[in-house]
Symmetry: D2
Subunit: 347 residues, 4 copies
């Protein structure tokens, strides 16, 4: 079987997590997240956030978290603004619309929402014949592997505050963002600048699980009702508690994310060294090199990965993703192979 750089959820969970699950297997506990493991995980996460005044809920997946957070926050006529490549706009089979709300898509710069585009979209929605923007959705890291800088977050946050909008950060890859070499944002910053966000576990060493952190008091009320209604309350909720407890013990969450980033950056370096351009310069665990069709086909023979988009008739942007579990050897072998086929092609 070919080695896969297709995504960051191809493998299971970090072994510390599995061990904890195995160890506690026959212990009885309360259902639906009302157990001691969840309480302990909340405690550990709050310590890491350095922020106490928030509610933390554990959900199973990303689409689920997005739809529950948004359904919980918005009145029927209210809408959420996202960049056009935003996960909720493209890759969730209309989950947000299915809960009744329009996603207002705006152009992005390097996958990021800018204050200019946000203000423009807000102004366009001027009266009761149009939906009313009420929430802003951003992802960190973005869909193209870039990260939001502190000043960008500050400015987006200030603009949201000015316009009466909630700022929601999809953190499916938040570990990756926070451990990127160019990151200057702390978890405490995120608590200060957003109204709600989540710490992704699925893509960072858990079997599954996202920890939704609600900062804004207006969004806290009855959140568990909406979770339950959307089928997002795991019966054996303890499984989520255990996993986040382990992830936030001894900073495992950050070690795993950093490893994934390091592996991706090595791959990106290898592409650059071999003379390839990048579709976007990523600092996290997804990279987007541009190759011609021949290289694309040769890579395909040995590896699994995704074609991101066409650049022109001869060139594609690829997407390669590493994870907490990507072995150094897989990266080294890929680099050797890329170098070998590049030489053959160019010489």
């Amino acid at each position: 079987m070919k080695y896969s750089f297709t995504n960051d959820y191809s493998e299971g969970a970090h072994e510390k997590i599995l061990e904890a699950i195995v160890e506690s297997n026959r212990k009885q506990s309360s259902g639906y997240g009302c157990d001691d493991d969840c309480k302990e995980a909340v405690k550990k996460i709050k310590r890491e956030l350095q922020y106490e005044d928030c509610d933390i809920h554990f959900l199973v997946g990303g689409t689920q978290s997005n739809l529950v957070v948004i359904a919980n926050a918005l009145r029927p006529h209210e809408a959420v603004i996202a960049v056009d490549s935003g996960h909720i706009n493209v890759h969730e089979t209309g989950a947000i619309e299915a809960s009744g709300h329009k996603v207002i898509a705006v152009a992005s710069v390097d996958g990021k929402l800018t204050c200019e585009e946000l203000r423009k979209a807000f102004i366009l929605h001027s009266d009761e014949h149009m939906v009313k923007p009420k929430m802003v959705y951003i992802s960190n890291a973005t869909e193209v592997g870039t990260v939001y800088y502190k000043q960008e977050l500050q400015e987006l946050s200030a603009l949201c505050h000015e316009l009466g909008l909630y700022l929601f950060m999809d953190g499916a890859r938040l570990g990756s963002a926070l451990t990127a070499k160019d990151n200057d944002v702390t978890l405490l910053d995120i608590c200060r600048y957003t109204d709600v966000f989540y710490l992704g576990g699925t893509k960072n060493g858990a079997l599954f699980g996202e920890a939704v952190v609600i900062i804004n008091k207006e969004l806290k009320k009855d959140f568990r009702y909406v979770m339950k209604q959307r089928g997002a309350m795991l019966a054996k909720g303890r499984l989520l508690g255990i996993q986040f407890d382990k992830l936030f013990e001894d900073r495992l969450y950050f070690q795993l994310a950093k490893h994934a980033n390091d592996m991706a950056q090595k791959l990106q370096q290898c592409f650059l060294k071999n003379g390839y351009k990048l579709y976007v310069a990523s600092t996290t665990n997804q990279i987007f090199p541009i190759v011609d069709k021949k290289i694309y086909h040769q890579l395909q023979k040995q590896y699994e990965f995704t074609k991101w988009c066409d650049i022109d008739f001869e060139h594609y942007a690829l997407r390669l993703v590493t994870s907490w579990a990507t072995p150094q050897t897989a990266v080294d072998e890929f680099c050797a192979y890329l170098t070998s086929i590049t030489v053959k092609t160019d010489a």
Copy 2:
């Protein structure tokens, strides 16, 4: 900590399942249920069903399965008929209504839907000013631990067919139903008599997971779209495949369910032997004895369980649930304790 008979999801998973998860942990696989483990589990389940012409999808939980199946099946004005104690009518925070559909609640006999009530409800909905019944929802085992007999299913199925209704069986506790001592229904019968049903894993030895089996061709199309839209497609879908693969290997699924039933039946016998009445005579893993307030409070001192309802000013119906993991010793100790307090009270 007190031993709990509160529900059948207090513990983890059968160890064979955990071992398989641990063993395959670093193996890469495709996401979202498109992996070999899911394929293998489907194969094993179909063999057990003795029925090939069905689609099988793995979802995470019961409420999720109910809402996806129903949202997938119904047009906007169509409704689902259920008994008033039905899970979708009472305990899912309006999940079905949140997907736009009315639950038409009708009276039950021993927790079961009767043809008479079904026909009555259907006839009442006579024109376009009312919702149009299109699906019938039943649970097997029911919410009060009873099971549907073959003839009942046959008749319900025939009536549904006559009236143009889909028959949907919630099988969160289907293992328990199929291994009840009075059960005369096979999985093949269920394939023949229903349009869609699911095999519950969460309450029968899995960490989580329900296997939705779609029989009726009309309900098959695009099911995965609706799963994704409702946040019901697990990224590491392989975890569901592994679990059902193990559950349907060597009939583990049935062994676990039978154990739970046996434990509950011992508890029920103990109540009967000590002179208590039953709210309903259950043959599965939930029992509903009637006790007076004194006994209720004495039991509460040593055990966790639920008060089901008031019988009169002096008596309550209790609900005690056993699971695949309930140890024989816990049951024996409970019986000894019950006998001891009964003697004290009655003497």
Copy 3:
């Protein structure tokens, strides 16, 4: 063609209304209810209410008003409590569920919601696994022609306040209720005791139109957005303004309603005089006499009306409705006919 007592929307509008529409036909005005006629109608209604601090919106029909008011008021997991015969529970094709919310149906006394049933339903919904009651829906007059008395409204209102519920009065037949001979409620009372209600026009002399009056500040915000979203904002909104302007000029609204009541009461008297029993004693424009099958069929030969329900194998409850336009002669003729067939039958 047979004369119809089937409903109170068989005829057009009071001629004063038609004249005003004809007269102003070519006058240009702003769309969507932002015109002078609507402003003037609001002014007149507020004067009649003797209550200033409310928002008034004009919608086209009853189902539309119910679904907009409820969709506007509730968060996704919140539900509305109504009596089982309530219009939103039975006769709106699941309009409320289609906007995502459960209707919790409770038993009624003479078509009315009692505090006892309300409290019971509230208490039953105790945790996040169930919908959360947030609104109470009552109709005045009720579906069976009875009216709420001041003390009943006071008590329901106090209980709603205690439990944190909004009280919403469907006033499709409010004119009829307020002019019933046993009514002791004023419009000002309704402003004080409810959070939102509407003054029905469709069933009381308008071509169409319901005036929604929002008392509670929490329900006022962005109401027009939800109207627009549900297709409930009439382009030529002026038509609604004109109609309510005329209805609330010189107390036309109340005269028309009183006429309808008088006609129905004459019919009811005639049934009583001829020895028939009533399914419920109505004081408004719908009556529910009980007749045997023979009489039923003889009445059907000459008149259109509805069979309400079976009383026993031999008897039906009928429903006869009068309107602002029912001529005295039609009532007299019906009474003569009833008397004649009664004699024939009984003699």
Copy 4:
């Protein structure tokens, strides 16, 4: 008061319609569109269509018609493709999303959807992680006053057929389109090329009303249920029947539309004669001239109309709309005024 060219619903209804309403006012008839006037109107419309095998339903307004047609047609994960300026995408407060469906917005040429953009959008939605396009929404006339030509409709229709998409034509201004001087489309063509469309009455001489014509059998079933559920079934449905009966008697519908077009075209000519450019060359009753800010402000002193968009810092595109009721004198006076201020500005 200033004369208004703001929209085509500023005035009431053609007098023939009013007379018919007045005349039939006290006549009793069945509710909800099941009356003789509706039947007669259906007959007349079918004769005009020269197409028998269709269902015709009368709704009150445009947003309502759009949301009912779309909610009726789509399964939960299915989406509708529209140009980005499409009414359902911009001006209906998220009505389509509120019924659960995504509007996929694509670029337009002169306000029209092209086969190229349609195919591109379809291809982009390739798997179950994205919504599934199932319907195409176009408006004729478009939002910028252009009309679809026969070949364009043919090609769109063929492409929809190829891709398994329903083609839905919003005909709020269909009268205007069909009487445009460059129109080459007949009603029969529309019956052949679309699956469902509507004949707008609100903007063409009725008080209100849209006649939805369902061609495709798949879309016919239970349409009235969805109408009722969305509050779109008028109690006194007869009012819709009367209006469409009159509109389709002696070709009144087309005469009224042609008048509106003629008035707008005179305005457009006047702008051109005075040297102004057009944002788009319209052949229907909406025109979009470009003026500089000074002219804009001078026009505003005497007339009501809309600013459509900014062209550059100095120039705006305006939107002027005429109706069936626009008097020739109003147009002449506007032209005289425009000419006068143009001279003053340019000289």
